[in-house]
């Protein structure tokens, strides 16, 4: 795809021809894009704690049983 084509596709998904959306609450004033990134960081943090790590249970069981850990 040409550069112009790529630009057209991205432009179709994200309309950037307007001033940035801003979240304004009391003294807090943040661009919407930054708010989305902060929300994604909070989600990543929660998922990293909640999601089991592959093989973690097996390792813990092996350690409790004294099996070659």
């Amino acid at each position: 795809m040409t550069h112009a084509g790529v630009t057209a596709v991205i432009g179709a998904v994200f309309n950037l021809s307007h001033p940035a959306h801003v979240v304004h609450w009391h003294f807090i004033k943040l661009p919407l894009a930054n708010v989305i990134v902060i929300a994604l960081m909070l989600v990543a943090f929660a998922v990293a704690i909640a999601l089991p790590f592959p093989g973690a249970a097996r390792r813990a069981a092996a350690r409790r049983g004294g099996g070659g850990s």
Binding site: L40, F45, A56, R63, G68
Partner: protein, 225 residues
Amino acid sequence: MSGAPESSWTVKVREKAVEALPPEKLLPDGQPTYVASWIYMFGVASIASLVVIITSGSILALKGPAWWHYTGVGHFFNSIHMWSVELFFFVMVVHLWGKYWMSAWRGGRTRVWITGAITFLVAVPTALTGYVSQQNFDAQWISTQAKDGLNAVGVGAFFNVTNFGQMYSYHVLLLPIAVVVLVSAHVLLVRRHGVVPPIELNARLATAPAGEAPAPPATSMGAGS
């Protein structure tokens, strides 16, 4: 040649270095089992992002502004550099939150925490000088906005964000060296003190009766996992 005298500074430095960080600590066989958690992965994810940043940044520095503005490959590497910075800050902030909530300065790890915190603070002007070095309207907008704030705190005279040459020097030499040195010190300190254990494990070790303390965590994870 005969052996160096014991008073030699090289011998003293070597002995101090090996004492502080013996090879088995510097490059261990494995990590404690409690490291098998996604929250422990954000530190190494920060380092991985930093490697991509430095690699793509080196290519941009070699090719120059005309290349990154006017060629397809240049746009690609410009984007790789910018998005790896975004990813670096993203994973570094999650790493910081994780370590804050597990009080990662416990067990004599104060310097580990401090080097990490200073790395974050130094990374901010490293990114800012990058944004104002782009040589486009975005850079012009950011630099004219930032100069008011910097002038207001009195540093504008020697840190002039509208001076491309000065900002570019900060961005490609001084600040990246500072970040790499700080990250290296941070990683070496982690190797020296070990990855901080969960608070729960520390509490169990502290409250267990003498002679019945649970065994210290085994090192069953591969070093790279």
